[in-house]
């Protein structure tokens, strides 16, 4: 569905002059500084996939998305969406594309919500019957009836986001690009939107590309995640294997019954050669960090069993946030 082949994006920014009339001189300067925002990214998305696209700010995320939607032309490389090139055939591509920008609404600010849908339907040549049917579905799924007649400027953020989602889906595109759709929303609103997105992906087979800073979005929705850092794709695979690849340790809290002994080689903070690291100890409880790729669970338990009589074991997998931080 989406095919990206070694796209690069270079920005030439004029070198800012200092001193008097700096503004004017910068305008006429011939010195440019080249910044490579995207340094050769390739990936392939099949129809029906739900892909997360994450990265720190300034990594080239929005630049990539803009190249996919035809807003920006790549310096080199090829993009193809549904077999069409968004730069040469912007209008055809866009007819089959839905975009939601989390920070800005695409609805008409002063008009009631329903009027925006009427106008958009005309824009995308959606005929009356289809429009009514789809809006009926969305109104139910997203609970839009409550503010159907309200001007967009009076909506809460959650309501506006729901309305925007319906607007993006009105012309039944096959591909959806979502840029931070859950930003600033409360827990309920987030849940509502995630439910909707999962539905259209699983039941209607929509291909979705989601950029977000919210790791729960990724965990709950995406089967695949791509990490971009410094203009390059540093990871492309499933969420599960991302955790494993990063190899952040699992934190295990062990409670012993009765006395226990921590063997010599595991004591001391600076001992990196052993797979088990003791990070704390209080009364009968010991906290350790283990990388489960270095030592499997059964072996860990056997080892702990040698220290003393086990009473309780609590295992905590690394936070996805922390995993991501590691990638960044």
């Amino acid at each position: 569905m989406i095919e990206v082949s070694n796209i690069r994006k270079e920005f030439k920014t004029p070198v800012v002059k200092e001193g008097r009339f700096s503004g004017l001189r910068t305008l006429f300067t011939r010195e440019y500084r080249t910044k490579e925002a995207v340094k050769g990214i390739s990936f392939h998305v099949e129809p029906g996939e739900f892909v997360g696209y994450i990265g720190p700010n300034g990594a080239g995320k929005s630049t990539t998305i803009k190249m996919l939607t035809g807003i920006l032309h790549p310096t080199s490389g090829r993009v193809s969406i549904g077999g069409l090139n968004p730069h040469k055939e912007r209008r055809s591509v866009v007819n089959n594309l839905g975009v939601v920008f989390g920070q800005r609404s695409q609805l008409w600010w002063d008009l009631p919500v329903k009027d925006s849908y009427d106008i958009l339907a005309k824009m995308y040549s959606v005929d009356q019957a289809d429009k009514e049917r789809r809006l009926g579905q969305f109104a139910e799924l997203l609970d839009l009836r409550a503010f159907w007649e309200t001007p967009v400027r009076k909506l809460s953020l959650g309501q506006r986001m729901r309305a925007d989602l319906a607007a993006a889906m009105l012309h039944d595109p096959d591909v959806l690009f979502l840029d931070e759709p859950t930003i600033g929303l409360d827990v309920n609103a987030k849940r509502n939107i995630r439910h909707f997105l999962k539905l259209i992906n699983e039941q209607f087979g929509k291909t979705i590309l989601l950029t977000t800073h919210d790791m729960d979005d990724i965990e709950q929705l995406c089967n695949r995640v791509m990490v971009i850092n410094n203009g390059e794709l540093s990871y492309d695979g499933t969420v599960k294997s991302l955790r494993e690849t990063i190899g952040l340790p699992t934190v295990i809290t062990v409670t012993f019954r009765g006395p226990f002994v921590i063997p010599e080689q595991f004591q001391g903070e600076g001992n990196l050669s052993v797979p088990i690291r003791v990070t704390g100890s209080l009364d009968n409880t010991v906290t350790i960090e283990v990388n489960r790729r270095e030592m499997n669970t059964l072996d860990i338990f056997k080892e702990l069993g040698r220290w003393g009589e086990l009473d309780d074991i609590d295992m905590e997998d690394p936070d996805f946030e922390d995993v991501i931080h590691k990638v960044y």
Partner: protein, 266 residues
């Protein structure tokens, strides 16, 4: 997206905008009247001078009122239909232009239906001035009834010319982002200058106002024919040609600017 469907889209926008504005009917009418009154004070200033002196370089009060009226109505027509072009700076600063690039139509055609601006105050003021000046000149035998359709005609060509100037000015935004200062010059200052007969200004200035920023073609040049019988009847079709030329040039410039935006971002 065909022409017909775009027009039907725009018509829908007009209907819904008017409907939602009408909800505050009283406020709206009152505000329009006040706006009309306040704007007429600009003409009153000149009218006072003319009252005392009689004419400015041979142009009477009614003739100058006519210049004012045509310019106001042309501007109103342009800004009613395409106000967002004038506000392109906001779209560039907020990144809202990107949104328009996700629509299945040329960016300019996606930009215009973002807002329909009802400028009743300006319509009242311009309309009143037009009626007053034409009425005065008809009473004095200076013009006949043919002046009415002719005036409406030049208001439309004038709107096209002002739109072209506005579009070209806005296109600079693709390079400089901020266009307010430039708009002050090419739109506000130029327009004010053309409200008075161009013969008042030094040659270099009147040439600029006819060729570079052709506001002079909106009201002054056609008035020479309509009010004074100078030049000849060819002026009217020639104006359409000039308006079309301005439009084509500014559209080309806009497309160039847009390609630049798409290669270098904002």
């Amino acid at each position: 997206m065909t022409v017909r469907s775009w027009l039907s889209l725009y018509a829908l926008l007009i209907r819904t905008s008017i409907k939602s504005r009408m909800q505050y009917k009283f406020n709206f009418i009152l505000a329009s009247f006040l706006a009309a009154l306040i704007q007429i004070s600009e003409f009153l200033m000149v009218a006072i001078v003319l009252y005392k002196f009689g004419a400015i370089q041979g142009w009477s009060m009614h003739e100058i009122g006519y210049l004012f009226a045509v310019m106001t109505l042309s501007k109103t027509l342009y800004r009613t239909l395409a106000d967002e072009v004038h506000h392109l700076e906001r779209y560039l600063v907020n990144g809202e232009l990107d949104q328009l690039l996700t629509r299945p139509m040329p960016v300019l055609l996606a930009l215009m239906p973002q807002k329909f601006r009802i400028m009743l105050g300006e319509v009242l003021q311009g309309g009143f001035l037009l009626w007053w000046s034409l009425h005065g000149m008809m009473a004095a035998g200076q013009v006949g009834w043919s002046a009415v359709p002719q005036s409406l005609y030049i208001i439309v060509t004038g709107a096209v010319i002002l739109f072209s100037i506005g579009l070209a000015t806005a296109t600079f935004g693709f390079w400089t982002t901020r266009i307010t200062e430039l708009q002050n010059l090419t739109e506000d200052a130029a327009r004010t200058a053309a409200q008075y007969p161009l013969t008042l200004y030094p040659k270099w200035m009147s040439s600029i106002l006819l060729i570079v920023v052709p506001v002079g073609l909106v009201n002054y040049v056609p008035s020479l024919y309509i009010l004074r019988g100078e030049l000849g009847a060819w002026v009217l079709p020639a104006l359409a040609g000039a308006a079309l030329l301005c439009l084509i040039l500014s559209l080309k410039f806009w497309q160039f600017g847009l390609t630049k935006y798409q290669s270098t971002g904002s």
